[in-house]
């Protein structure tokens, strides 16, 4: 019985492989895309990455006339989905949304995948971290907070995501830029930005380094205050929040980003067409309105620039993770 099924499986696998071989030249001949495209999302349905991937896919679908099916491949803290994109056939029919974690996970020794395992297509979103404190707390501006941290290392506690998550590294990077060690503000791991903001209001922690949009509801409710953002420019949606550079003279910026990429070795013409289509999608009002409604930042970088952006991010993550004692080697 087992033999039979196994043989059946091998036979069907072989059949599928032959079909693939026969189908391939056909694809190369006719213009891409002539069948549905799969868009892999490494994170769960209903989240921010999922929502962004779905809006982009729906625009591509409308413009290219082929279905772009979003598939959530969750698990392994993002590793499963990211490797599903990297190991797919590089024919342009499987692409995916990769996230900042791709520049972090390999430093931790969780996977061998890094940004060079992909064909970068376009960077579409980046959200810089902010520094949020309790509204009725003692800190009125970022300088006051920075001075207090310098004078009392280890006294304040911060949160915003899990241990070694993007907002944790943002904090470590900022402390390093001020010449402080990572333990000047111990990190309290949380299940994301929202529970951290709640704990901030409950008095459990002193600062939260999540993005400003993530803390917006609590700021509007008068429970929290955003002192600064770690970005090159102010966010037009939050014009009153200054950057670190203009307040402390620290030119440190980092962010959680999302971009579209395919497996390494995609045909150059398909990649170029996708990048052009993604640019169209990025410029559409539909995308702009959606991102504004969610409070997500929009950034555009085509293939080459996206690659350079990831390489730079990878290097700065390496040093931040080493400083936080999270890097494997």
């Amino acid at each position: 019985m087992t033999d039979l099924t196994r043989r059946g499986f091998v036979a069907s696998a072989a059949a599928a492989a032959t079909a693939g071989v026969i189908a391939k030249p056909a694809i190369a001949q006719s213009a891409w895309p002539n069948r549905p495209v799969t868009v892999v999302v490494p994170w769960g349905a209903g989240g921010g990455t999922d929502a962004t991937a779905r809006i982009v896919s729906s625009i591509l679908e409308k413009n290219l006339g082929q279905p772009f099916n979003v598939v959530n491949r969750t698990g392994g803290s993002g590793v499963v989905g990211h490797s599903a994109i990297a190991t797919a056939a590089p024919d342009g029919y499987t692409i995916g949304m990769i996230t900042v974690e791709i520049t972090m996970m390999h430093h931790q020794g969780l996977t061998d995948l890094k940004h060079s395992s992909y064909t970068p297509l376009a960077l579409m979103n980046e959200d810089p971290p902010g520094v949020q404190v309790k509204a009725d707390g003692p800190f009125k501006d970022i300088k006051q907070l920075a001075d207090f941290i310098k004078a009392n290392p280890g006294k304040l506690k911060a949160s915003g995501t899990g241990q070694g998550g993007i907002w944790h590294l943002a904090l470590v990077g900022w402390l390093n830029a001020m010449g402080l060690k990572a333990d000047a503000v111990p990190w309290v791991p949380s299940n994301g930005a929202a529970p951290a903001m709640q704990d901030l209001a409950a008095g459990g922690i002193d600062l939260v380094t999540c993005s400003v949009p993530e803390g917006k509801a609590m700021i509007d409710a008068g429970r929290a205050r955003s002192l600064a953002i770690m970005a090159a420019q102010r966010n037009p949606l939050f014009p009153d929040v200054p950057t670190l550079n203009e307040t402390l003279g620290i030119n440190y910026s980092v962010g959680a980003w999302r971009g579209i990429a395919g497996p390494k070795g995609m045909p150059a013409d398909v990649a170029a067409k996708l990048t052009a289509e993604l640019k169209k999608a990025y410029d559409s009002n539909e995308f702009k309105d959606f991102m504004k409604a969610r409070g997500f930042g929009t950034v555009w970088a085509p293939a080459q620039e996206f690659d350079a952006f990831m390489a730079k991010g990878d290097a700065s993550m390496a040093s931040a993770m080493k400083a936080a004692g999270l890097a494997k080697s």
């Binding site: 698990g75 499963v80 509801a217 429970r223 969610r294």
Partner: protein
């Protein structure tokens, strides 16, 4: 005030909104009743659909689908001992025991009737006390959550009908399962054996589907004669519910209050509400020995509780954008997308939208009754079908459902593994419900304990010095010491009795 209320009604009684409510209700009923597809999953799958809807219709979709899914998770639990959603796991054995006694319609009627009542009372709490309840949530830091989760774990010995040591052992196994993965406070991979799939940890859904559904199917295969379930027509589903409503007032009040409180707390949702309420029903019952034999008390309390928590879970979401549970976490995304940004301004500037939201909640809980009756009638045919046909379809649904949660074949393998574990446990008298409880609570216990210690620089004093934490700690120790006190008193009485004779 009255104007905004009328405006709210006008917003709800639009064709597209009403179609959305009915469509989402039917969808929620079907998805919730399939093992492995939880209410959260049902909601998440609706998000892309809401892209194309008006704001009120989009929110109506989420509310209706999640409320129906939580109720309809009770249906397979009652008929086949396979809970449809984690929120039903606490009282599945009880409901199935009633079915075996030939009281399936009463059991399902209880689930339906008290779910609807709980949902409506939860909504009223949302309307009347939203700011007050939100303020309460702000008293909860990780110190308080630790005690809450610890109390939740202690329910293991109460909900199980086996010996307490076996229940505790099963719960510890659940805690061990929750240790797997990288999602722990230290962010270090544990028990992953170098497997990428284990990095994300073992979720509740595959465990639940495995130990309940797959193990049940294995038991069915092992039995020569399937247990006789009386072949007869279903009686009236709502018959006798009014009497039960009148005779079980304390259970309802307790169930609703516990549900509302747990729902408001971020991170604790309908599953925890059901566990705690079932355990409380047993603890305060005059006839605790009847629990597990098909006794309505626990069903009433827990069924009311999980639906009440659903409505109150929206309080922190609407006021501060903080999700009360996984369903509202998804709903917040939809609210932002539709320009109904959570925050106190939602209650002032967009008051009519808020009223519309309340009205949708109440409509959803009212139409739950007729739609639920239809669903129960349709699904009750599974009791008349030959066991082997039902079971093979369930195996298929388990595989599809668990695959769908992450599009990952590993989850299907996990379901099979936990099926075997569940079968062996049940065979030896270890309650699988306690294992599920351990998996549900494990992460919360660890996370809240470790992060609390980081905050206090290793001191345990804040666990007792914060006012709310102190109350919860006292409750925990009272519950821990109670059995010892009872034992001592019995011993004393036993020692006194011969002397008196």
């Amino acid at each position: 005030m009255l104007d905004t209320l009328f405006e709210g009604f006008r917003l709800v009684f639009q064709t597209d909104v009403l179609i959305a409510i009915i469509g989402a209700s039917i969808y929620g009923l079907v998805v919730g009743s399939l093992p492995g597809l939880s209410a959260t999953m049902a909601t998440a799958l609706l998000v892309p659909v809401t892209f194309y809807m008006s704001p009120i219709a989009a929110v109506a979709t989420i509310i209706a689908a999640s409320a129906m899914a939580i109720f309809s998770g009770d249906i397979p639990g009652c008929l086949l001992r396979i809970p449809g959603t984690p929120a039903s796991a606490a009282y599945t054995d009880e409901a199935f025991a009633m079915t075996k006694k030939g009281e399936a319609e009463t059991a399902l009627g209880i689930c339906l009737w008290f779910s609807a009542l709980g949902g409506i009372i939860g909504t009223i709490s949302l309307i009347v006390m939203a700011p007050l309840l939100a303020e309460m949530a702000f008293k909860f830091s990780t110190f308080e959550y630790f005690w809450l989760a610890f109390l939740g774990l202690m329910c293991a010995t109460l909900v199980a009908r086996s010996s307490p040591p076996k229940a505790i052992a099963a719960m510890f196994l659940g805690l061990l399962v929750s240790c797997v993965g990288i999602e722990n406070p230290a962010g270090t991979p544990r028990f992953t054996f170098g497997m990428t799939d284990l990095l994300g940890g073992i979720e509740v859904i595959p465990v639940l589907v495995g130990v309940f559904a797959v193990a049940e199917i294995m038991r069915g295969m092992a039995l020569k004669d399937p247990p006789k379930i009386p072949h007869r027509k279903f009686g009236s589903i709502l018959k006798g519910q009014w009497e039960l409503t009148k005779t079980h007032k304390p259970q309802q009040v307790r169930g609703n209050i516990v549900g509302i409180i747990i729902g408001v707390l971020p991170g604790a949702g309908a599953d925890m509400a059901a566990w705690v309420s079932y355990a409380m029903a047993k603890r305060f019952s005059k006839t605790p020995e009847k629990f597990g034999t098909g006794h309505p008390e626990g069903l009433i309390e827990a069924g009311a509780s999980n639906n009440a928590s659903l409505a109150s879970g929206w309080v922190p979401s609407l006021l501060f954008g903080i999700p009360g549970d996984t369903i509202t976490a998804i709903a917040i995304g939809v609210l932002y997308m539709k320009g109904l940004n959570p925050g106190p301004t939602l209650f002032t500037e967009k008051a009519s939208s808020m009223y519309a939201l309340y009205i949708i909640f109440i409509i959803a809980n009212i139409i739950m009754i007729p739609l639920g009756i239809m669903m129960i009638r349709a699904s009750s045919t599974v009791l008349r079908l030959p066991r082997y046909t039902v079971m093979s379809v369930i195996v298929l649904l388990c595989a599809v459902g668990s695959f769908a949660t992450g599009n990952n074949l590993f989850l299907v393998v996990l379901v099979a593994i936990f099926g075997v574990i569940g079968y062996v446990m049940e065979k030896n008298g270890y309650p699988v419900a306690a294992l599920v409880l351990g998996v549900v609570m494990g992460t919360m216990v660890e996370q809240s304990f470790v992060t609390s210690l980081i905050k206090s620089d290793g001191s345990i004093i804040p666990f007792f010095s914060r006012p709310v934490a102190a109350v919860l700690a006292a409750m925990t120790f009272a519950a821990l010491l109670w059995p010892a006190v009872v034992w001592l008193m019995k011993k004393r009485r036993a020692a006194l009795e011969p002397a008196a004779r």
